[in-house]
């Protein structure tokens, strides 16, 4: 009876071992390949990788993947600006009341961690229970009219938010793919969040811009130069009278302010002339923020023509004593065309200056409008505005019929490439905000791998020596189970396609210490039974069976903790929870089943003995 029982146990052990080896095989192969490739001369590396690409790729996909904290990379959580979207959906119906409701609702949803739409509706209805949301929202497609009920509008808004999040995800995916990251992962989290994992990425700045880049491209006309010049004179006069005490507080540091004296706070940091009559003036890079503060005053804004606003050039046009100078360019508030009409975009080089620029082609509707706009404004500049900065304001020379245009004034090839990427993947339906970002450099990752490896090794050795010293042969058997246990954990991780993180390795180390607990319980019981005068066989039988309930209870509770950690934790902590759970499962198996088989084998003869210390 017992023989048969052990046969089954041995069978299970063999099956588990075979499965573990099967699941870990690609990982071992992949690592050997990596070593092989790294050992080659550089010229051969690329060729070898190219020739074996498919095989290597499948090896990599099937091997145990390392977390970003080990291989280096970037982990970003993005939040879709639902409040922005709800405001934008109202379009021209949006008024002060709606803006106020949205900002109150946003504040409350942030404070209380509730959903924005719910707060928005509650706030809207609390102001006037009879008010109709359809005052602000219309949609032909979704059949939202003046007579739609608030419930219908709510469904419509929720639908719009949902599809905006989905679209944002598609766009982010397409941008990441174009950027070229191996094995990126993009997942939706909750209602309005995206989690992006980019292994091996180390240019954080570029990726941040790429992920949240709205690339809102606008074609705008420039206002009448005469009107702007007279407005400029009035503004300068306004600051002439604004008093000189302000000026002192503004003049700091190594800006243009130190070079010019006089009581006019604007003129201290701003020169009201430009390369052409269309330019409002220029300022040094560090001063632009202060110029913005000055001209954003209501009195100043009132002096500008209603249809005009001021925007900074994207690139400096000159430098003066090491300071980059930026132009302030007036544009019309009305947007003639947006980036929606762009059907193609590519990087080109200016034949004269060899600077990178982006060439764009428009769809038929866009081409028609572009022809009309250029035709009506020959000899006057058209401003190409990207994300609130004027990239160029070329003078229209002839009417353009083929829908061609280009963005010049970029900082270099990289910006041109990223811009093409963003233009082609489409505009984001709502702004994306980075609410969490974790970047680990490759070098730190390598250090962590080493630290983790040594921790596992030293932990294993320390526990193994102690167990043999304390339990003699029994300890040796427990050590065998312990080593198999570590291999099983890795096998389970590979089988479930889980990622090995640094906290995950910590989980393995911890498991090494706690896994022997089951054997300690059993062996102590066996010693107790032996002390009570039982035969070795009986002591072993009783030891195993009496220790069982304690082992089960202790491990079930720890497993619960693992489950809780897994469901609440994020990122690397999940990795810790996974190895903890895998460790408990496999340690139960190795500590109870494997050691039993070995102990039984060693005591198969009546006369054989085994020491439990």
């Amino acid at each position: 009876m017992k023989k048969q029982n052990n046969g089954f146990k041995i069978g299970t052990i063999v099956v588990f071992l075979a499965m573990t080896i099967m699941y870990l095989f690609p990982t071992i192969q992949w690592n050997l390949e990596q070593r092989h490739i790294n050992g080659m001369p550089e010229a051969e590396q690329a060729q070898y990788s190219e020739e074996n690409r498919e095989r290597l790729q499948s090896l990599q996909e099937n091997s145990l993947s390392l977390g970003l904290d080990l291989q280096g990379g970037m982990y970003v959580t993005l939040e879709v600006g639902v409040n922005q979207l709800v405001l934008e959906l109202a379009g021209e119906f949006a008024d002060e009341t709606l803006r106020d409701i949205i900002s109150v609702a946003q504040g409350r949803s942030v404070d209380q961690g509730t959903e924005f739409i719910t707060e928005f509706l509650a706030e809207f209805e609390s102001r006037d229970p009879n008010a109709m949301l359809s005052r602000y929202y219309r949609s032909d497609v979704d059949n939202i009219t003046r007579r739609s009920t608030n419930e219908e509008v709510e469904t419509y808004l929720r639908g719009q938010v949902g599809s905006a999040v989905d679209r944002a995800m598609e766009i982010v995916r397409s941008r990441v793919d174009r950027y070229g990251v191996t094995e990126p992962s993009i997942l939706k989290q909750g209602n309005s969040r995206l989690v992006v994992e980019l292994p091996g990425v180390d240019d954080e700045e570029r990726v941040r811009d790429l992920l949240r880049g709205t690339a809102r491209l606008e074609f705008r006309l420039t206002p009448n130069a005469e009107d702007m010049n007279s407005a400029k004179r009035q503004i300068v006069n306004y600051f002439e009278n604004a008093g000189s005490e302000e000026a002192d507080s503004l003049a700091t540091g190594d800006s243009l302010a130190t070079q010019q004296t006089g009581g006019n706070p604007l003129l201290q940091i701003f020169s009201p002339q430009g390369r052409s009559e269309y330019v409002f003036g220029y300022a040094a890079g560090p001063d632009t923020a202060r110029v913005n503060d000055l001209i954003s005053r209501e009195e100043v804004q009132n002096l500008l023509p209603r249809s005009a606003e001021l925007m900074w050039g994207a690139q400096p046009f000159a430098t003066d004593q090491g300071l980059e100078l930026f132009e302030l360019i007036p544009v019309r508030t009305q947007v003639e065309m947006t980036g929606d009409v762009i059907s193609e975009a590519s990087v080109e080089f200016d034949p004269n200056t060899n600077e990178a620029q982006v060439a764009m082609a428009m769809d038929s509707d866009g081409s028609r409008r572009w022809a009309r706009i250029t035709g009506a404004n020959i000899g006057r500049p058209v401003a190409i505005v990207l994300d609130g900065y004027v990239y160029s304001y070329p003078n229209v020379i002839t009417k353009i019929n083929n829908g061609r245009s280009s963005i010049t004034g970029l900082s270099g090839l990289q910006e041109a490439e990223d811009l093409v990427n963003i233009l082609l993947s489409g505009a984001l339906p709502a702004p994306l905000d980075i609410i969490e970002e974790r970047t680990v450099g490759a070098s730190l990752g390598e250090e962590s791998i080493q630290a983790g490896f040594y921790s596992v090794l030293f932990g294993l050795v320390a526990v193994a020596i102690f167990m043999i010293a304390y339990y003699h042969a029994g300890g040796g058997i427990a050590d065998l189970a312990l080593i198999l246990n570590v291999i099983f954990i890795l096998g389970i991780l590979a089988a479930f396609n889980a990622t090995l993180t640094l906290p995950g390795i910590a989980g393995i180390v911890l498991t090494i210490g706690m896994a022997v607990d089951a054997n300690v319980l059993i062996f102590d019981r066996i010693r107790e039974e032996l002390r009570a005068g039982k035969t070795l066989r009986a002591a072993i039988d009783n030891g195993y069976s009496n220790a069982m309930s304690a082992i089960v209870d202790a491990n079930v509770t720890t497993f619960f903790v693992g489950v809780i950690l897994f469901s609440f934790g994020v990122g690397p902590i999940k990795g810790f929870a996974i190895t903890l759970m895998a460790g408990i499962a496999s340690s139960l198996f190795s500590a109870i089943v494997i050691t039993r088989v070995v102990v039984d084998y060693l005591t198969r003869e009546k006369t054989s003995t085994i020491s439990f210390g």
């Binding site: 932990g459 210490g513 706690m514």
Partner: protein, 305 residues
Amino acid sequence: MKWFESPTYDFIKGQKIMYVVSGVLFVSSIIAVLTMGLNYGIDFRGGKEFVFDFENNVEVTEIRSALTEPLGGTPELKLFGSESEILLRTDAEGDISVIQNLILSNLQELYPDNPVRVIKTDLVGPRFAEDLKIAAINSILFAVAVVFIYILIRFKGWYFSAGAVAALIHDVVIVLGIFTVIEPIVNFNVTIDQALIAAFLTIVGYSLNDTVVVFDRIRENSLIYKTMEFKDMINKSLNDTLSRTVITSVTTLFVVTVLFIFGGEVLKGFAFALVIGVILGTYSSLFVASSIVVELQKRASQPKS
């Protein structure tokens, strides 16, 4: 080798002294947390954290004073494993790229001949931090509830549940207190972050492991020695399992110490919490959990007058 073979310590008698020890530790931990405040990491507070790797050694105080003005507030600085790596935490508002470049340019100005690079960045928005905090609190409450219910079902006595949960609270509060007190002294990161919550839950699991083994023995002994007084039975059970409790604590202490020494800078605080937690967990399952069970059982079994 044999430790604690048939020991006959009187744990319940020793509880008077232990009540004092635990009480003092527990109360001073609460006082420390209340007066010094919990030292949240950016996970729960929001903010930006960078690790800079210099080629040569740097002076933390110099960096602190050089960056205070540009960042508009004193940043928190700690060495990160070596004298040439620093961890910087700032609440400065604004775009992370802008702040990163601002710090880098100031550092280069401060140490022109000491090249620096960023090897780790963490950004957590205030709203996201709030979410993480709620999730962390929920997970701990949830874990305690699960423990209470599981023990209630398996051991059929609410005083067992209460004893186990009291031991857990005892352990977690004292670890929190120690973290709060040592923060200004030690040279590694001991802020309260997600990893620490994971450590807490592990401590909960570990401490429980010990407690459950003792309770299991109590259950078993109560079937064998039906006439024995409850207090004596608990004492016997503690002695019966003492060898196992100590051995498992020793092996676990081995590995968490290894983790603390060799596990790298990222895991220092986490491993430290585990080291304290294992010691406390062993102590509390021997003295706190069982003492409370005895106390509660005594009161519960007294006829109401």
